[in-house]
């Protein structure tokens, strides 16, 4: 073996140069979860439930919009107008209503 050939071998060993006949290959893809976890955005983990809930929210039957001005006033006592029997209910009547709700 020539001196040059010995030096070449030594250099390849020291610097771990890839051989022409045996080129260094990339490490195989393992599809392991651990190497990938560092690329996950932590917020996507903590917010996962919220995200899921927002995406899964069904479409409302009626959507939000600005109220028509004076709607509260217009509907004040509206059932008492339709049903005279419900006019001028007392505090005690209202408490009775509250108790009825508890029965539900």
């Amino acid at each position: 073996m020539s001196v040059n050939a010995e030096v070449n071998i030594e250099r390849k060993l020291i610097y771990q140069e890839p051989s022409v006949n045996n080129p260094r290959s990339e490490s195989p893809v393992t599809n392991d979860f651990l190497p990938r976890i560092e690329f996950l955005n932590p917020s996507s983990i903590t917010q996962a439930g919220v995200y899921d809930r927002i995406i899964n929210l069904p479409k409302p039957v009626k959507s939000w919009h600005r109220a028509s001005r004076g709607a509260t006033e217009r509907f004040k006592g509206c059932l008492s107008e339709v049903f005279p029997a419900l006019k001028d209910l007392s505090e005690e009547d209202m408490k009775e209503i509250e108790r009825k709700r508890h029965e539900l």
Binding site: V50, P60, W64, A67, S68, T72, F83, L86, R101
Partner: protein
């Protein structure tokens, strides 16, 4: 119940006055109102019961339709969001949520009536629906909601509108 008190408004009744103040704030946009079809069912049941008692006769189907129509018109004019309870129940574990709400609830002794207040089945269902639509609070007069622990907090109307 807020709808019932408002629709049966009487200026001398405390519950009616406070309901009107809260609804005025919803109208102004201070709160975004959300109701479900379960809220409508409860409103119908209570109002029908009151009418039945006051008239001392059966309530007809046309009267029930009139009661229902008033709430639907009000919801529309107030810009209140309406969700279908059935749709919510298919997308979320509403009934399991009910159970955990009742488990987490802390019963409390009423300051004024000296009675124990705790979350009932229908209350828990309202809360579970509120939770499923990410509502921040549940507006109520009911002391039974006082011990609620979870994402949806109770907004006790007489405490918010003291004057």
């Amino acid at each position: 119940m807020i709808f019932v008190y408002h629709f049966l408004y009487s200026p001398t009744v405390f519950l009616s006055r406070k309901s009107a103040l809260f609804l005025k704030d919803v109208e102004k946009g201070k709160y975004i109102g959300i109701v479900t079809t379960f809220t409508i069912a409860e409103y119908l049941a209570v109002t029908r019961g009151v009418l039945c008692k006051k008239k001392n006769t059966q309530v007809t189907s046309s009267e029930i339709s009139a009661i229902k129509a008033k709430l639907e018109q009000f919801i529309t004019q107030m810009g209140i969001v309406l969700y279908d309870s059935d749709s919510l129940a298919t997308k979320h574990a509403v009934f399991a949520d009910c159970e955990s709400m009742i488990e987490r609830d802390v019963p409390s002794l009423g300051r004024h009536d000296g009675k124990w207040h705790y979350l009932k089945g229908a209350d828990a269902l309202h809360l579970a629906f509120a939770n499923s639509v990410n509502a921040e609070a549940i507006a109520t007069f009911d002391d039974d909601f006082r011990g609620v622990r979870g994402a949806v907090r109770p907004l006790i109307i007489p405490e918010v509108y003291r004057n």
